[in-house]
Each structure stands twice: as C-alpha cells, then as structure tokens.
Symmetry: C2
Subunit: 109 residues, 2 copies
Amino acid sequence: MLKNLEELRKSRDWSLQDIADKLGIAKSTYAGYESGYRRPPLHALIQIANLFDVSIDYLLAREHTIDITDRLLQGKQKISIDHMVLDQEECDEFVAFIRAKRDIKKKLR
Amino acid sequence: MLKNLEELRKSRDWSLQDIADKLGIAKSTYAGYESGYRRPPLHALIQIANLFDVSIDYLLAREHTIDITDRLLQGKQKISIDHMVLDQEECDEFVAFIRAKRDIKKKLR
DNA sequence: AAAATTGTGCTCAATACGCGAACGATTATT
DNA sequence: AATAATCGTTCGCGTATTGAGCACAATTTT
C-alpha cells in the first residue's frame, strides 16, 4: 500500500532514527509503516507527505484521471507542465481545440 | 480536515444511509467522518475517494502542485476533458500546445 | 576490541474506532 | 390530523489498532 516509503527515505539518506526524530515519533513506529506491519493513521500520513513534499496520492501509489475541465476550478489542486503551474487560460484554448476536434470526428461518422 | 465531505455527498443527492450502504459501514460511522468527530482510517478514505472518483489530496483539501509533464509524455498519467480520456497523441499535443503558447507569450514581451 | 548505529520484532498499555441505539426534527403517507 | 418513515446527531461500550519501549543481531565507527 505504501510501497515507496523505504526508497523515499533512503533517497534522502535518512536513517529510521532520523526520520522518526523529524516526525516526533519512535523509530519502531516508522519502521512499522515501511514494512507494512502497520498503517499510518491519516495525520501521520499527512506529516510524512509534507516531509517528503509529495502528494498523498503519490505515497499511496494511486492512479487517477485528472479532468482538466473540472480540475482547475477546484483551487488547491494544481498541476504543472515543465514546473510551471498551469492556469485556466492556458487550458481553455486547448480544451476548445479538443472539443472542436471531437465534434468534427463525430460529424464525419 | 475533511471539510468537503458533506458537500460532496449532497452533490450526489445521497443520504448518510445511502453512502453508508455503498461503503458497507454504519451511518453513524460515516457521520463521524463528516462532522470531524472521527477520522477515517486509510482504507476507508481510499474507498471514499474511489466512490466519489476524486483524489485523496482533494478530499483532504491539501495544497499541492504535481508536475505531470514526464508522466504525461510517458503515458503514465491520464487526463480527460469533459470526462473523456485523451489518447496518447492528444496528450503529446497538449504538452506541445502549452509549450508553444508560453513561447509565444515570452517572445511578445 | 569496544562503542555506537542501524534495522527488526515483540509485548503491553493507551488510544481510536465501529456499531447499535436513542433522540428530535423534517418529510411523506394514510 | 395522525401516523409512519426518513433524516442527521450524539452517546456509550466492546473491540481493534496503534505507539512506544525494550531487546536483539548485524553492521559501522572510533
């Protein structure tokens, strides 16, 4: 369920003790998360995500479709291209383009 | 922490009993999530996210930016417009489109 | 060789959880 | 209008799950 935790920690060159100190928990507790022996409760998971600066969905290896037409209206969830955040205006034209394209395809049938 | 849960449920016109049945839990349990009286454990949160078809980060109203460029070009990240998934060619076009648009904007300055 | 660090596994106390039940407030049915 | 049904809220209690400490072997450092 949390398959990347150990790799993520080692990529930072942190020991279990290091990360436990950062989170303010016992190293055995964090070891339990990594091994899958225990599942972190929500508040712990959030702190872990903050520490590594990744999304919760990434930690959970969750895949989901991002709908551009819904998404940008939702405020706090942002996506970026080439490390530059996508704004509404940038998307609108492309959305119009795809819609037109689909429309044509539909009429050709 | 999960401030959107009630709104999300009502947007679907579901009662507490409805959603409890869908999730296979007691309505008082789900009511606890909505009110903030209890926090859903991870496995419950995942099921809720699946039910509403949203990301965990959205449920948690977490501010986070994810860069999808690489994943998009590699076909690992799906995006949709009007709830219709884009194919690989369209995904490539999307990235190219955004890049081109930014390029133009840059030159105009 | 000794001492410190690392990761693992275990037990136990404390916490957090899920459920059922009861409640008042609306809404629907007869 | 009276009754029944549905809705959301809250509580207590039994249970499940967690967190921390401790001990251990393996590795590294001094």
